[in-house]
């Protein structure tokens, strides 16, 4: 995925949009899936175990035996300095990285060889940090697309999402691109809920949103988690995030630095000093 080492992705100056259309070009690699297998024993619902790997085949490793996990009903939060590998770890769990070592288990099944696409089919929902809505589609169409893999009647789920985010119901026929930042985040989360995922992964859902929206979002996330859906998220807004977290992972240079419940980490003076800004 690295632009430097993949020659096909070298960024030639193709600014001329009468020739190419860079709008909405994807990053997620397309590949064929391998086999999955059942794993015996007690394991968390979703776990990325001892993951080691980097962005390209012979690029340096970014993650080093990094483990992150979440269980139903829990909120797990990943924090750490910039460049620690938080986003990378999320991507690794979602199969957007070739892991050299380690594995990813979902509900007792080893899914390390699955393509991101098939992980979606397995019930993993992911909200990327940016570009997380279809700007040219209406809010309702966005939600419909969220439920794309479902063949059953989606009107109930849609109603639930509208209950959760009433503002979306008002704006259902508006192009999502016309919404404000916070509203977009709500669409994004709502979209991922439409999938009826088994687990929800959020990458910095609150970056750049105003305090009031942030509170709102955190509230919703807690509500969602209460319904039994495990939530795994990356947050820079660490203090608030750890405040609601059942599990916290502090990553440092691609390694697990500290792990514990949200409260434990908040209480740890070292963590406070070096990652939470005192």
């Amino acid at each position: 995925m690295s632009n430097g080492s993949n020659p096909y992705r070298s960024d030639r100056g193709n600014k001329d949009r009468s020739i190419t259309n860079p709008h909405g070009v994807g990053e997620i690699p397309l590949r064929d899936s391998g086999k999955t297998s059942r794993v015996e024993g007690e394991n968390p619902f979703l776990i990325g175990e001892k993951m080691t790997g980097g962005y390209a085949k012979n690029a340096p490793d970014i993650l080093h035996e990094c483990t992150i996990a979440v269980n139903p009903g829990e909120i797990a939060v990943i924090v750490g300095p910039n460049g620690a590998g938080k986003s990378t770890a999320m991507k690794a769990v979602f199969g957007m990285l070739d892991l050299r070592e380690g594995r990813v288990l979902l509900d007792g099944e080893d899914i390390s060889a699955l393509s991101p696409q098939d992980r979606v089919a397995k019930g993993m929902g992911f909200v990327p940090q940016t570009n997380n809505i279809f700007t040219s589609l209406t809010v309702e169409e966005n939600l419909e697309m969220g439920a794309f893999i479902r063949r059953d009647d989606i009107s109930d789920t849609m109603a639930q999402v509208y209950d959760l985010f009433p503002i979306l119901k008002e704006k259902r026929n508006q192009a999502a691109g016309e919404l404000s930042g916070g509203q977009r985040q709500q669409v994004a989360v709502g979209r991922s809920l439409m999938t009826r995922p088994k687990v929800l992964m959020l990458d910095e859902p609150t970056a750049g949103v105003s305090p009031i929206v942030m509170d709102e979002l955190f509230d919703r996330i807690i509500e969602v988690a209460r319904t039994g859906l495990p939530v795994l998220m990356v947050e820079q807004n660490a203090r608030q995030a750890l405040g609601i977290a059942d599990r916290g992972f502090v990553l440092v240079q691609g390694r697990n630095g500290h792990t514990g419940t949200g409260k434990e980490l908040l209480a740890d003076p070292e963590v406070r000093a070096s990652f939470l800004g005192g």
Binding site: S2, N3, G4, S10, D11, Y55, G80, P81, N82, G83, A84, S87, Q129, T130, E178, L179, S180, G181, G182, Q183, E204, A207, G208, V209, S210, P211, I212, V213, M214, D215, E216, F218, D219, I222, Q236, N237, A238, R239, Q240, L242, G243, I244, G262, K263, L266, A273, S274, F275, L276, G277, G278
Partner: protein, 262 residues
């Protein structure tokens, strides 16, 4: 230093900035807050010449700068960063910084052919300067890494670093803090204060992190729906009913709040 006089910016029928009037005092660090979609970035873009206002006037030190292109404003000492990092992706981090200073003699074609000596000297100085900035931002190890291969937060640092390469008069920072680790953000805050004190830079800071605003900014301007909602010290703003309703909110309603306080 900068006055914004009844500026409007419409996108089609949508009024992103709807009659904003404000003044930025020389030597201050002004905070600009407001809900998402309030028009803060748009206002920045109008001031910095990226967007032409639908109507209204912007002046800088008494001079009308409405509609001047960004590169002219740069040479007048007006710099800005971007909310979404705009790194030069195929260049190394160091090059990202070295390209910033204007008036490099090596940027004239003629000199590239017949003025090699002078260019070499200038380059040495630029390089030293760039390394200094990288070190300050704690990313000196990334000097030779391509800019599109660093993490989101690191890109933001680079963004800030560029404004440190030249002597500016006024710097507009658009959410430098979003996605930056809090500990590092503190360091950045210190740097901003230092630049403000030592070099007398004027700053305008858009930020959603109230702690950060608290630490740096006085006065604070709050925008909503394209208009200036309130203006004053942070304490005043925080007490303003309208601001609370539109922007700050009253905190988390349930468990989260409890968690924070614990």
């Amino acid at each position: 230093m900068i006055t914004v006089d009844d500026v409007h910016k419409h996108f089609g029928g949508f009024h992103a900035v709807d009659g904003a009037t404000l003044e930025i005092v020389e030597g201050s660090i002004t905070g600009l807050i407001g809900p998402n979609g309030a028009g803060k970035t748009t206002l920045f873009n109008v001031i910095a010449g990226v967007l032409e206002p639908t109507s209204g006037r912007v002046t800088m030190s008494g001079e009308d700068i409405t509609g001047l292109p960004p590169h002219t404003l740069f040479h007048k000492g007006l710099l800005r960063t971007f909310q979404i990092a705009h790194e030069f992706r195929s260049m190394t981090c160091r090059e990202n910084l070295m390209m910033v200073p204007g008036d490099q003699s090596g940027e004239r074609l003629w000199n590239t052919w017949f003025g090699r000596r002078r260019i070499a000297e200038e380059e040495r100085a630029l390089r030293a300067k760039a390394d200094e900035v990288l070190e300050f931002l704690t990313i000196e190890h990334l000097a030779d890494q391509r800019a599109d291969e660093v993490s989101g937060g690191q890109k933001k640092l680079l963004e800030l670093g560029r404004t440190m390469m030249v002597g500016a008069k006024i710097v507009f920072l658009d959410e430098v803090g979003a996605g930056v680790n809090r500990t590092l953000l503190n360091t950045i805050g210190d740097a901003i204060i230092r630049l403000n004190k030592e070099r007398n830079y004027t700053f305008v800071v858009i930020e959603h992190d109230m702690d950060f605003i608290d630490k740096l900014c006085d006065p604070v301007i709050c925008m909503a729906e394209g208009k200036v909602l309130a203006q004053g010290s942070l304490a005043e703003i925080k007490a303003n009913e309208q601001v609370i309703e539109a922007y700050l909110g009253t905190g988390l309603k349930n468990k989260a709040k409890a968690g924070v306080e614990a």
